[in-house]
């Protein structure tokens, strides 16, 4: 499967994502510069973590206007798989591909630690190799991970099973312990924890690896 990892000025988890897909999972993986626009031959794209455009104004606020993001929006609308991790999740929110917004952590601190997540929906293309209610360990590293959505929006997320991951213990004040959500169709996933930093036993956890394997499986079965 052909994967693209988008590189914005200030991305810093792009190489981690590339490494896991290319060297651990042996996928045809390419970096895509934010000024590129061509996604025609790609099966899936990742918006990696980091501080795109210096997180100026608001996290993800500038990235949504990059040429590549216009292509990502069109790609997502056609059903392509889009994964936003950490800053990538924030960009998906600012772009309107996912509902809600990020606020600063309730502690006001940048939190860098391993957290436990619960899988709330194992029928998403990115989660089918997990069990529902299974607990996973993955690192988080962010200051703006306090997910906000109004009550009406929250009800929609719940009714459509769009809440994919919840924190077991809320680290950042996030509404309803939300750690990751999908769009209504399920092909766009955003999460604050870093599965790419938890895909090899050497790094302490392999719990993130099945997220990528699930997506590869989903793409292969769609062929």
């Amino acid at each position: 499967m052909k994967w693209g990892v988008i590189v914005f000025p200030g991305s810093n988890c792009d190489h981690d994502c590339y490494h896991v897909l290319k060297h651990v999972l042996h996928q045809d993986t390419h970096f895509l510069w934010h000024k590129d626009t061509d996604l025609n031959s790609f099966d899936a794209v990742i918006l990696p973590g980091g501080f795109s455009y210096g997180d100026y104004l608001r996290t993800g606020a500038m990235a949504k206007f990059s040429p590549m993001m216009q292509s990502v929006v069109a790609f997502a609308k056609k059903g392509g798989l889009v994964l936003g991790i950490c800053n990538g999740f924030q960009i998906l929110l600012e772009s309107g591909l996912l509902p809600g917004a990020m606020l600063r952590n309730s502690s006001l601190k940048f939190i860098c630690e391993s957290v436990n997540l619960r899988v709330e929906n194992s029928k998403n293309p990115f989660t089918q190799y997990y069990q529902k209610s299974e607990e996973l360990s993955m690192p988080i590293a962010h200051r703006e991970g306090n997910y906000f959505i109004d009550q009406e929006g929250l009800k929609k997320l719940k009714d459509n099973n769009q809440i994919i991951f919840r924190y077991v213990k809320n680290p950042n004040g996030s509404e309803d312990n939300i750690a990751g959500i999908s769009n209504e169709k399920g092909n766009v996933l955003g999460l604050m924890p870093h599965p790419e930093r938890a895909s090899e036993s050497l790094l302490g956890s392999q719990d993130g690896r099945r997220l990528f394997e699930s997506a590869i499986h989903a793409l292969e079965s769609n062929r």
Binding site: L57, A61, A101, L103, S106, L108, N146, F148
Partner: protein, 83 residues
Amino acid sequence: MIARVYITLKEGVLDPQGKTVQKSLHSIGFQDVSDVRVGKYIEVTLPDSLNKAEADKKLKQMCEKLLANTIIENYSFNIVAKT
């Protein structure tokens, strides 16, 4: 002309930064402060040749598209002559 743009968190959106500032104000003796909300102030310089209606329209678009995230933030602006 200069537009003064004010971005504030909507009512009902928690502002941990404001709460922390409020606590600090209490601790230095300003006990009667009942709430603090922290926002952003942005100055945008536009050509003086624009009329008020054109400038208002442009600024509204700037706020809606980029300067504010209207899910969590309100915006307001006023236009003053460049000094």
